[in-house]
Structure formats: C-alpha cells, structure tokens
Symmetry: D2
C-alpha cells in the first residue's frame, strides 16, 4: 500500500507562494498539494496550468471550508499571516506560516495562545513559522558543532541580512507594510540568535542606529536602509546585527558564532556556485542575487520536514514561542532604531 | 488533464541505481519509475520498501519483456552497461546509461551503431550516456561563458578527478573490472575536455605517466593510483589531466579552461557547504567526501532533462558519439600509462 | 655627497621599541638611529649588541640632553607616552609616538596644544601618532579606492581588532593600565573610522556592550574581553566595532567600508602567508598570530614615511588632531561599555 | 666595533640589477654595495644618483680588477651570466648569479667545475644561483612541513609559472635569447621540483607539448607561449608542469605538493594584498602583476642569506649542482616541446 501523503493547501500564490506550492507539489514525496487559494486571478491561472489536479479558490475561507486539507501553508502577504493562521488553527489544521507571524507582537502572541488552546483538543496539531535558514545544511552544521561544544560556549553572535540593491522603488513601497527592516530582514538573524544563544535566554538590553542612504522615502514609513544593532543577553552573551537594502554584489547574509575556543562562520564567503573567473579585473566569483537563490534547498528541506512532523507526530523543528519572541525583539529593535533610545529589560528597565 | 509522465525502468539498484531510482521517482515530476530490476535480493527488498507501486524484477530481460516502459536507466555494473543498453535500444526504448558505456571502445561503438540503426525505425528514440558534470550548474555557467567568447578562444583545458582515499581495499578490487583509472575516473574530465575544446576536434597525441603509491596491488590490474597526462589537439589546443585515488581531504574534482583573455575555474575552491571553522588550527572548510556529495544536484537535473528530451522529442543534452570518443581516449591514455609510450594520431602516427 | 640622514633616538626598547629600533636602523635608508634610552638593563644590553655605534641611555631626559637628535620615537609604556612626547616637542624635535597618545583625552589634548605652540617657533616640526594600519598597503588601497569614489559614498564602517587568546594572564595584568579594550585595541579601528568617514565629521551618539568570558579579573579594571559598539555620525554614516582578546586562530583584524555602490574589505580572509594545507581536516590556512606578524611591513613603511616627512618638510601622514579625537572616542566607548548608557553628543546630549 | 660588512659588486643594472642593488644596499644590514658595472650609460646615471658612495664601472672586468670586492651579484643579461660568474669564481669571489646559470647545460656545467676547482684554493668561497622562490616564506613553510613528514611521502609535484600577458612584443623579442619557456620560466618550477622530490633523484622520462596562441613569432625561436609537461622520477614520483605567457589576471605562479596523506599548496589563491572588492561584478581580489610584486620579500631574504653564508662560512642555501641539473631538465623539456618526442633516461633510453 502506498504510504499516506499529507494533504496540503497553499494560501497565497505570489512569489513565495508559488515556490512553496512547487516544493510541496513536486519535491516533497510525502505531501500532496490538493488546493490553493489566492485573490489574484493571474495567480489562479498559474495554478491551473502548473498544479495539476488541485482545487483552486479565490477565497481562503472557501478553501478551508471546502477542500479536504490536513495542513495549510500560509504564504500570503504578511498583513494576513496571523489571521489566516488563526483560522486554520481553529479548524485543527497543521500550519506552516511564512515569517514573520505578524509585525505586531500582540497579534503574534494571539496566534500562539490560540495554538496552545487548540492543542488541548488536537494534541497532534503542528504550527510552525517558516524560518528557512534553520533548514539550511550549513546553518545546521554550525548549530550541531556548537551544540556538541566543539568550540566552547558561544559568546558573540554576529549576523546580517543584506539584500541586493533594487532601484525599482520596491523597498520604499514595501516598507509601508513590512514592519521595518528589523522585522522584515533581521527577523532571520534574530531567530538564529535565539537558536544559537538560547531561545529562553533573557534579553537585558538592545539598541539600534541606522540611516537612509539609497532609498529616500523610507523615513516616511519609519524605516531605514542600513541599520546596526547590539543586543545584550543574561549570562554573558552579546549579539551584533546588521541589515541593509543596498548590496551591490548580491545577497550577503552572513553569520558568525564566536565561541570561547573557536568560531563558526556561515556564508562569509558566499558564492553563487563553484565558478571563478580570472580576467583583467582579477579573480572573482559571483554571489547569489537574492535570498531564494541561496536558500532554495533549505525551503525544500523545510517542506519535507514540516510534512514529516505532521505525518509522524514529532516535534516541529522550530518552536512557535521562539518565533513570537523573534517578532518581539524585531519590533523593539525597530523602536530603538527610530527613537534613538537604548531599551532595557528586567531590573534596569525600571530606572528608565 | 494531468500531463503525461515518462514510464521509467531502473536497471541495477546498487549505490548509483538507488540514487537514480530516487531521483526519477521523487524529484523528477515528469517521470514515474514503474519498474526496477536487480539480481540482488537485498536490493529488491530495498525497492519494495522504498519505491512504492513499482514492479520489481530479478532479471533485466524480464523487466524489458513485461514492464510497460518508455525509458530505461542503466545503472548496473559497468560490465553489463553496453549489453543492457543494446537490448533496450533494440526494443525502441529511450536509454540513459551510466558512464562509461563500456571499458572497450569497440563495444561502445557497437552501442552507437545499434542506436544509429534504431533511429531509422524510432526517430524519436533518445540514448545518452550520463556524464553528470555536464548538468552541474557551475560547469554549465563555465561552458556558457566560454561559448559566448567572454575570454577569447580556449587554449588549455586542465582537469582532474581525485577521489578521497579509501583504505578498505575497494579500489584494488574495483580496478579488476574498471578499465583503469583513465577509463573510470578521468572519463569525466575527458568528456568535459571534448565539450570545452570541441567534440569533433582531432587529437594529435597523448601521453600518460603514473605511479602506485598507496594502493599496492593495482599494478596487477595494470592500474595506477596517481596519474598525469597530456593531450594535444589539432588547432592549437592542449589538455592536462590528473587522476588520483589518494586525496586526504575529500573529493577534489577541479577544472580550468584557460583562454586567451581569461580563464574559468570550476571547483578550484571546492567546499562541502558554506561553513568555515576558525580554531587553533587556523581557518578551514571541509570538502565533499565523495562524488555524489558534490554532484547530487547535477544528477537530479540529469534525470529531469533526460525525461524532458524524451517527452518533448528534443536533442539529448550529450551526444552518444562524444561519449564513445571519450571511451576511446580513456583507453588510449590507459594504454600509454602502462606502456610508457607517447601515442600519436594522424600523420605522425604513421612514422611511429 | 651622501644625502642627509635623520638622526633618531628611540625611547623604550621593549617589544615595540626593539622593532622600531631595528626598522629605523636597518630598513630606513634615510634614517640613522643614534641613541636609545631605556630604564631596563637587559634592554640596554640588547641595544649594545644589536644597535652598533649608538649612544645608550638609562634615562630619557639624559638622552634628550646629550644625544644629537633630530627626532624621537616614543615606544615606551603607554603611561609615559605623553610626557616623553611633550619633552621632545619642547626641544623642537620631531616625534613619532606609539598609539595611544594617552589613555586620558585631556592629556592627549595637552600634547596637541604643546605641539601647536611649538610650531610657531619650529614650523617644520613634525609630531605624529603611529597608527600603523594607515601605512599598510591593503588599507591604503582601500582608502584610495574609496577616495576616488569608486563605490559611491561610504555608509557603514565596520571594523574589529581581535587578539589571539593568551592564557598567560597577560591581558588581565595589562588591563590595569591599558585604558580598557576600546582605548587599547579599538583605537586602531577608531582611527581608521575617522580616516574613512571623515576626521572632522561630528559624532552624534555611541554605545557599547561587552562581557568577560575568558579572562576573569578584567572586571576589576573596568574592562571586558569581548565588546561591540555602534557609533552614529552626522551626515548619515554609521560604524560598528568589535574588539576581542579571545581569538583561537590568530589575530583577526578586519575592516569593511560599505559604500552605496560597493564595498571594500581588508583582512576579511586574513592569512599568515600563501600556504594552504589539505588534509583529513579539510582545507585550511593559518592566520597571523599577532599584530606585528600581519603589519610588520606597515611599521617599516611608517618609519620610512615619518623620516621622509621630517627631512622633506612635508605634511605628516596622520594629523595629530585626529589621533586626539581617537583617544576621546575610545574613552567614551569604554565609558559606555562600563556604564551601560548610550552617550549622545551635540543637541541631543542636552536632554540627557 | 661595528661588525664586518660584505663588500658587494653588482654586475648589470637592468630591471633585476637595480632591485638587487637596492636590496643589498639598503635592506641587507650586513652588506655594503661598493661597486657596480653596466655598459648602459643610463643605468650608470641611475647608479650615480641612487647608490651613494659606490664605484661605477662601464666594464665588468674593470670592476673585478679595480674594486675592492668580496662578492659579486651577476644580474646582467642571461647570455653573460656564466662568463661573468666564471671570471668572479677565478678571482676567488663569492657569486650570487641570477637564474638560469646558462641556457646551455654544458656551459652551466663548466661554471660548476670551475667552482669545484676553485674551492680547493678558496674553501670558503660561495657560489649560488638565485632561485628566489626558495627564499619565499610560503615555499619554505611548505618545504618544512613536507620535510617533517606531516603528510607522508610526496607523490606528485605540480607547479606552474604563468606570466601576465604583455602585448608589447617583449616576449617574442626576448625568446630569441631566453633559451625557451622551459629554460626561462619553468626553471623555477624545475628547481622547486628537485627541492621537493629530491635533488639527486633520477629522472626516468619527460615529455612536453605546447602551442603558440597569443604571441605569433615565437615559433621562429623554437618557442611556445603555453606548454605542459610531465616528468617521471625513479622511486614513484611524478611531476606536472605548466608555463604560460598569457595570463589575463596577473602573475599566477602556483605549486602543489601532493603527498600520501595530504597536500600543501602555495599561491593557489594568490593575491596582490589583503583587499577584496564587492561590487556589481561580484567579489574579487587582484593578483600580483609580475614576478617581483609577488616575490619581492624573497629577494630581500635571498640577499641577506647569501650575505650571511659568505660572512659566516656556512652552507649556501641552494647547491650549485642542483641548479645545473635544473638547466639540464629545462633544456630537455624544451627539446621535447619542439620535437614532440618523449625523452627517456637510464635503461629505457637505450631501447629508443
């Protein structure tokens, strides 16, 4: 008998939605995409042509109502992530939700508490936020080596998300609803910071400064195109973050975990592939031009592992609590970036 | 209506057979593996467990007779590549045959001529030898850049296949039937050499020297564990090859195409992934430990592109003539390696 | 006629003093070391043996009084840098003073104002703080490319001074008088930050956090072994600094100048030499183990260029004002590190 | 009392002569350049301006006759290397001779035998051919690691000398007297090959092929602009060489010593300095543009070590026998390159 396959519905078929749909449909042997929903007619046409045999809905609620689903992948615009996740949770469905859960930590918290409620009725239900870098083979090796204590305790986590420059005006438009560069870009670094330094570790203080350099108009959305931050944790751990929308060479997402007896670096010599050119300009390699070019494999692994944890009733690879905490820290960093104030937590914060 | 899927049978379920089976079964959306054959009972058990819904045969001929196939992937031991390919060709099936076609160029030629005959009856039939590196994204970018004349005409092709050291005695055992290191390892470099310098370009001379260093016993099979060669082509092109069974750090397969105005290098800084370690030993990266770890994606692309050319009746990505020429050159290099003689072709050879 | 040579006295013959003495004596063709002073008898013996034909003094004042000097190199312990520089300035001598001028900005300022007074009498007098990285070929190329506007305006300067771990207890002892990690280590990065972003550019705010990880006892000297900082400048420039006393692999001093249309990196792939090892651990290179191993050539260039500016009456390569500002910023960063407060300058600072 | 300094005369003040003169004059504390000879009036003017206090001669013999010399550096054109070396040897002077000793092995041998004769009268006399790479810190580290048996016995030595393309026609003109690309360029690789694999190790066979690609006219001097070779030694060692006059990116001189349990690479990621650029073309570094840019430090070390061995009567760092053998192998490789024949030595050669 053929093994059971997870029946998946995809909410949203924009850039990321199409990728998730393809990954679950074609590259996740234990899953079947059985339905998709999008308000966009062009996207529905794409689905009809590319996702054979699935049901296509204009309306998300319709899909939840009428399709025979076990799991939903929320890949719509950030503004509806939480609402769509909540509805699926209430129906007892497994949910893989694109990052961030929300740009507002209170809304993110409401998803978490709905899930905690739902678990009482549906103890096998899985809800996970899709932080793709956690599924990347390099980040995983780094994590395993640190966990095995190969380099002693971690002291400093340094990480950046730096997008390639886009002169189309996209970033300015996008900033109106993105929650800001720390919520949109750095959320990955924040998630990794929690992963490497301890998801339950208490933050003592954080602080950010930034500038608008190449995307005038970002100020109007309380955003910046380059920003740096420091985060201080209990227990002698610190973190330095950088985010940018201005890279000339490509997507430069890098992380370092500096431990007492060594350090692990990921992506510090990031390259598109294994080609090098020697010509009159010297020796050069090209970089990935966007996030998906670098992390495509991680998204495929994410689809397969999410599917496996639903079918096998195992622990989801990422805890929802941690993802809510990431939203909280992203929001606080953005607040510090705009206000110019250092923010303290715990005892110290009382003095301020 | 769902699109037609290519019905594929897999011959041989050893190490490479399993990989091909999985790639066609799970990661090639336009193909279905419908049958597999292997004389090995353990492998048949593996198939029963892992390739759901397919027919499993002990005997290759049985599979050809009884399964409803459009294409066969020949992934059995090298000794039966040609025979199995011939039988499938005679039935009008598409064939993807693992490299090398044969260790004997005359047998390889017989496969080619059978295919040429068969094409008269089955003009849409595709037969291709699976030189996986041609499907690797880095090699392809290198090829496209050279083809676009970015660096002027190529002058020197330098390439190596260098396996990680295996102290189990495997290489000595394997050498008994492998055809020798130039036919088994360097066949990839030879294929790439033809691709980059011209598949129809005439070879003027070739010459090889080598040693047995770490695998005593190879001499008995007329083989070596490290060898270097030069090849001279008409039209002012030369090639330098290196093959080894002795690498300490991992699989070190590299190629350089040195052109008049620049050069392209592939894998010269090969790495397992995007991790670097800084510790008391310095700064280091790890290497892929075997061929498949580096080229897995290329095999998946191969499966998908072979499938597409069968379904869409387009040109196979690699010509069978070129693959036969590769066997010829591999055999000649091996001959030079053992005899110590330089071998000349064309006019010069008459003098010798 | 042989060209005139600058008559140089060396103050202090500790680790750095010996190096300066050798560089001026043997590798600076236009200079002659004619005298040296040190209170340490062993160091005087070293001088007698290695610096032939020079006068050797126990006492710095004696040397100033009795040797026929045109220039003094102050390479003694930091605590007497300023005092020795002041005395030489008052005698109208040229001065090359090791970094930092002082750990106290007020003392550093007093050196500057003494020099400004002295210039009225000795308009050809040169006084310079020896920030060696400014003489490094790589930093210079980076600076020239940025100055030529190859990458558009700089936005972010990111830099670190990270010493190799020393388990001898040296760092804890040294911290008692070093002024702290931002004054001792990061002073180089601060100097470079001013060089790249503008020596006269106004700082708006700065902030630092840090920890004691591997050198317990540093707290007692108000110091840390790992610290990160952000600095905000007028005109849309920001800087991120890291300093550490804990590196396992070697001296890891790196800088990035991220501009609107590209970035320049220095030392990001720092290596001891051009050797790579491939063995069972992968592919690795070694790093310089200390500052001098990486920057020896820069110190030689510094000696030669300081000599040239004295002999030729040209502008010193580094302005003393900028070096005083570096001390100021180092002290402020150290203050923020210990207090936990963000520090504001200009208008904003009034509110605090 | 000041230590004795070696009194050095420089023969030839062309490109290399000037460098040697400066290195001995200014950067070799134990040497004094006391004289120089060159038939070129412009070069003599340069010496008068730059080498203060030395005697300047038009004629080499005059210098030998009239200057008070202990050592001669032969840096004139290759055609007179041997003759000038012979004359200095006969006068009992120490000699550092630029590579190659001669383009004719018989002449090179005559220098060696003259030296062996002379040693009877002047047992402290030193004669050495200046193979600068042996003084490079990276090559030395590689050699020491191999000598210490860190990676087991060496099996393959692979090395190249690849000059940056020069479109001025220099290489064609130069080829008329250079002895050919294997004698002029590869002589360095040959010297290193002997150093790493054993200076007394017997060669069994060698073979070379090459082409004229970008410097038409080289054929007329029996030369090529790209060539590859294999060399086979007794005892299971092999070597692969590449030489080129066509590099677009810079001087690409690389070597690998592949041993049974690991390998050492030198210059495989050669770079001008520690700068990297990230811009719209990707991530790149520049390369040294010529030999001296990469190996300047090695020449300075050579000057200092040659001086030391003369003053201290220690073994010269490079044996003259080995340098003569290098000329022999260079000439044989050039012969094979032009004739197309593989050349055998020892028993096998009798059969041919």
């Amino acid at each position: 008998m053929a093994p059971q396959k997870l029946r998946v519905g995809i909410a949203g078929l924009g850039r990321m939605g199409k990728r998730h749909a393809n990954n679950f449909h074609e590259l996740t042997p234990r899953a079947n995409v059985v339905a998709a929903s999008t308000p966009d007619a062009v996207e529905r046409d794409w689905a009809a042509e590319n996702l054979h045999g699935i049901q296509i809905f204009k309306d998300y609620d319709d899909m939840l109502e009428n399709a025979d689903l076990e799991a939903v992948v929320v890949a719509s615009v950030t503004a509806v992530h939480a609402e769509q996740a909540l509805k699926a949770i209430r129906k007892g469905l497994h949910v893989l939700c694109e990052k961030p859960l929300s740009i507002d930590v209170n809304i993110a918290r409401s998803v978490l508490s709905e899930y905690e409620q739902s678990l009482k009725k549906h103890p096998q239900q899985k809800v996970m936020c899709g932080f793709s870098r956690r599924f990347d083979a390099s980040y995983r090796e780094a994590y395993e080596r640190v966990e095995k204590n190969e380099f002693g305790p971690p002291v400093l986590f340094r990480s950046q998300t730096a997008d390639m420059h886009d002169s189309s005006g996209f970033f300015v438009e996008y900033a109106k609803t993105s929650g800001g560069i720390f919520v949109d870009c750095s959320i990955h670094d924040i998630d990794l910071m929690l992963w490497f330094l301890g998801e339950k570790r208490q933050v003592k203080s954080l602080q950010a400064v930034g500038v608008v350099s190449v995307h005038p108009g970002l100020e109007l959305s309380n955003d910046r195109d380059n920003a740096i931050a420091t985060v201080e944790f209990e227990g002698g751990k610190i973190a330095a973050l950088y985010c940018s929308r201005m890279m000339a060479a490509g997507q430069e997402d890098t992380s370092e975990i500096i431990c007492e007896k060594g350090s692990v670096r990921v992506n510090m010599q990031v390259r598109k592939n294994h080609v090098e050119i020697h010509d009159s300009l010297g020796a050069r390699r090209e970089l990935p031009r966007h996030y998906y070019e670098r992390f495509r494999e991680a998204f495929i692994t994410e689809a397969n592992e999410f599917t496996a944890c639903c079918l096998d009733d195992t622990q989801p690879p990422i805890s929802l609590q941690s993802s809510v905490k990431a939203v909280f820290l992203g929001q606080q960093l953005q607040r510090s970036l705009i206000s110019g104030e250092k923010i303290y937590f715990g005892e110290r914060s009382i003095k301020i």
